[in-house]
């Protein structure tokens, strides 16, 4: 009897197990953000407290690192999204010498191991005489570079899937090329651009290997966590982790709710 019950629900049970497997680490992070460790062993939950949330900047260097990561993330996202979107349009809409080569080369940063990319960038910066200036700007340049490929690939997919008779229809209906772009093309490609931007930010915020090699004395949040991990991670790191997770969930839920509301209003 139980055997049959289990067989009928096997997929469901497996699904729940997989979800649990994915969410347990996140649950630990959330839980630990409310931990008041009694000893230096920070990996044991001792007592519940709101202190970590009320005073996130007990270690000011952590908050500096977070701020720097957010700054780099936002800047890299803006630049990579603009450049990548333009590149995607060029690759999909225009025929030029070297287009297929470009299409292939744009994948390289995604395919190459980060450690290779990071070290060769470092070699480039040093060779160019920037060895003394490694820091915020070199990190930013590196981040823009690897985000760019992801933006191009995402936007290109969206553009390639777009029916180009829509633009012809717009032109047929008296829209100038500029109007056609802003009224038809851009709104239709926008979800792809937005997705690419979100992806860029999380890639940049997250990156450790390339950043570490090109950071000089500058510290980003992942580097900070790495640095403090040996002597015990402060509980506030979990607060930042929980916040980041909550923000991304909120973005996903928000867009989902927005879609549902829109389709309900129209039905």
């Amino acid at each position: 009897m139980t055997g049959r019950w289990l067989r009928e629900r096997l997929v469901l049970v497996l699904g729940i197990l997989v979800l649990l497997y994915t969410f347990v680490p996140i649950a630990v992070v959330v839980l630990m953000s409310f931990n008041a460790p009694a000893s230096r062993n920070v990996y044991r939950f001792d007592a519940f407290t709101l202190d970590n949330w009320l005073n996130p900047c007990t270690d000011p260097s952590m908050c500096d690192a977070v701020r720097r990561s957010v700054e780099i993330g936002l800047l890299a996202t803006v630049v990579a999204t603009i450049l990548g979107t333009l590149a995607a349009f060029a690759l999909v809409r225009h025929d030029f010498v070297g287009r297929s080569a470009t299409n292939l080369l744009i994948f390289l940063p995604m395919a190459a191991p980060e450690i290779v990319m990071g070290s060769s960038l470092l070699a480039l910066f040093v060779a160019a005489g920037f060895s003394g200036q490694l820091g915020f700007w070199t990190i930013l340049i590196a981040h823009i570079m690897f985000c760019l490929s992801f933006v191009v690939v995402t936007v290109r997919a969206r553009l390639a899937g777009m029916d180009d008779t829509l633009e012809q229809a717009a032109m047929d209906l008296y829209a100038t090329p500029a109007q056609t772009f802003w009224r038809v093309t851009f709104p239709l490609v926008f979800p792809g651009i937005l997705g690419a931007a979100l992806l860029s930010f999380s890639l940049s915020f997250d990156d450790f290997i390339i950043t570490n090699l090109n950071a000089g004395t500058t510290t980003t949040f992942p580097m900070y966590v790495w640095g403090v991990a040996q002597r015990g991670v402060p509980m506030q790191v979990n607060v930042i982790g929980t916040l980041m997770f909550a923000i991304s969930i909120a973005i996903v839920l928000g867009s989902e709710l927005n879609n549902r509301r829109r389709s309900k209003a129209l039905a």
Binding site: T165, A170, D172, Y174, R183, A267
Partner: protein
């Protein structure tokens, strides 16, 4: 660019397409090549203002390319296009008073029905957009769907939105690119009537591209049959059907029996042809042959079928010796395949009036037709040209 260069030329009157007194759409020597392939070859076409014109042809015949050149979505390799005397050959699509109903409808998925229809008016900064759009949506019976997105409408409704979106701009010429191709048969029939009604109501020039000969004939005042980049024949549907000038038109527009024959005599108004030993006559104005050999053509419904020795209402051409090889009963009519003594199978449609008997397979019959219904085509043409579509549909 070339727009500027062309303008003085057409005003000077030296340009063959620049006759300013013609108020319709005129194409002169229009050619469009894609690399080595010539899609449209030296096309001359006059489409009078206010007419419902159909460009009919198989896929790849150049009809859609012609339409796109009129819309400005393709630039002719050579030739001129004028509209109401004005040269629009190189005008940008958004600068010409021409609108298109696309085959795929091409409705803007991110805009609702109202904004889709209002698109052209808004681009031209038109006054009272709201009332115009509502009026147009009422015309196509979509007044209560204004705030829906295109994806929420059925195929037939989307088609009407596409039509409304183009019509609202009151273009000089409305281009329809296989507009009913994606609809099922029943809906297509009702939309054909609807389109015809709207055209009569608004009085605009409609240029309708289609591969469906029935659609072209029921809707258009003038049909141009296009094949391999050139127009084979152009005229009123009944003229094209009754007196085709080429085997392509004879087969593409309806069905035809084409029987090989030799011209034996030419009188003032009649040509006699020896058709496998049987003498038949064809009115001179219905003969389109250069040499001594030709194809005698006769539409299946013009062929009368009877028992041996039965007197049929068709003085002149009587062809004995047929044997029925196949009978298809359609209800309103019956289609017979009749094997003739020279081996060819002829198709005969008989109206099911109840006055004649139903023949069975293997029966001996006689065929005949009135000479004035026959036509004679040039032997150099392929007797099966244009017929393949009849076979696969």
């Amino acid at each position: 660019m070339s727009q500027v260069a062309e303008a003085p030329k057409s005003e000077g009157g030296t340009d063959p397409g620049g006759d300013p007194s013609y108020d319709g759409l005129r194409l002169r020597q229009v050619t469009k090549s894609f690399g080595a392939f010539t899609a449209v070859d030296s096309l001359d076409l006059d489409i009078p203002r206010g007419s419902f014109f159909a460009l009919l042809g198989p896929s790849g015949c150049g009809k859609t390319t012609t339409l796109r050149m009129v819309a400005g979505l393709e630039t002719p390799t050579s030739g001129t296009i004028t509209l109401a005397g004005e040269d629009i050959t190189y005008a940008k699509p958004y600068r010409r008073p021409v609108n298109t109903v696309f085959q795929s409808y091409a409705l803007f998925p991110h805009l609702d029905i109202f904004e889709n229809v209002a698109f052209g008016l808004r681009r031209r900064k038109s006054k009272d957009v709201t009332s115009q759009v509502n009026e147009m949506l009422d015309l196509v019976e979509l007044g209560n769907q204004a705030r829906k997105k295109p994806a929420q409408l059925s195929g037939g409704q989307q088609q009407r939105v596409a039509l409304a979106r183009a019509l609202i701009n009151k273009p000089e010429v409305l281009l329809l690119d296989e507009p009913l191709g994606a609809l099922d048969l029943k809906l297509r029939r009702s939309m054909q009537i609807e389109l015809k009604r709207i055209q009569t109501e608004v009085g605009l020039t409609f240029v309708h591209v289609t591969h469906d000969q029935e659609e072209a004939m029921t809707m258009a005042d003038t049909v141009a049959v296009m094949n391999r980049g050139v127009i084979e024949q152009m005229g009123a549907p009944s003229v094209l059907y009754e007196n085709p000038r080429s085997t392509f038109v004879a087969n593409f527009l309806g069905q035809s029996n084409l029987i090989e024959g030799n011209v034996t005599g030419r009188a003032a108004d009649v040509v006699t042809v020896d058709m496998h030993g049987i003498a038949v006559s064809v009115p001179t104005e219905r003969t389109h042959v250069d040499g001594e050999r030709g194809w005698v053509g006769i539409r299946p419904e013009k062929v009368l079928i009877g028992e041996l020795g039965e007197s049929l209402d068709a003085p002149g051409n009587t062809i004995p010796g047929g044997v029925i090889t196949d009978v298809s009963f359609y209800g309103v009519s019956t289609q017979y395949l009749v094997r003739m003594p020279w081996g060819q199978e002829l198709t005969v449609f008989q109206q099911n009036t109840g006055r004649s008997k139903l023949f069975g397979q293997g029966e001996q019959v006689e065929l005949s037709w009135r000479p004035e219904y026959a036509f004679l085509l040039d032997h150099s043409q392929d007797a099966s040209a244009g017929a393949q579509r009849g076979a696969d549909e």
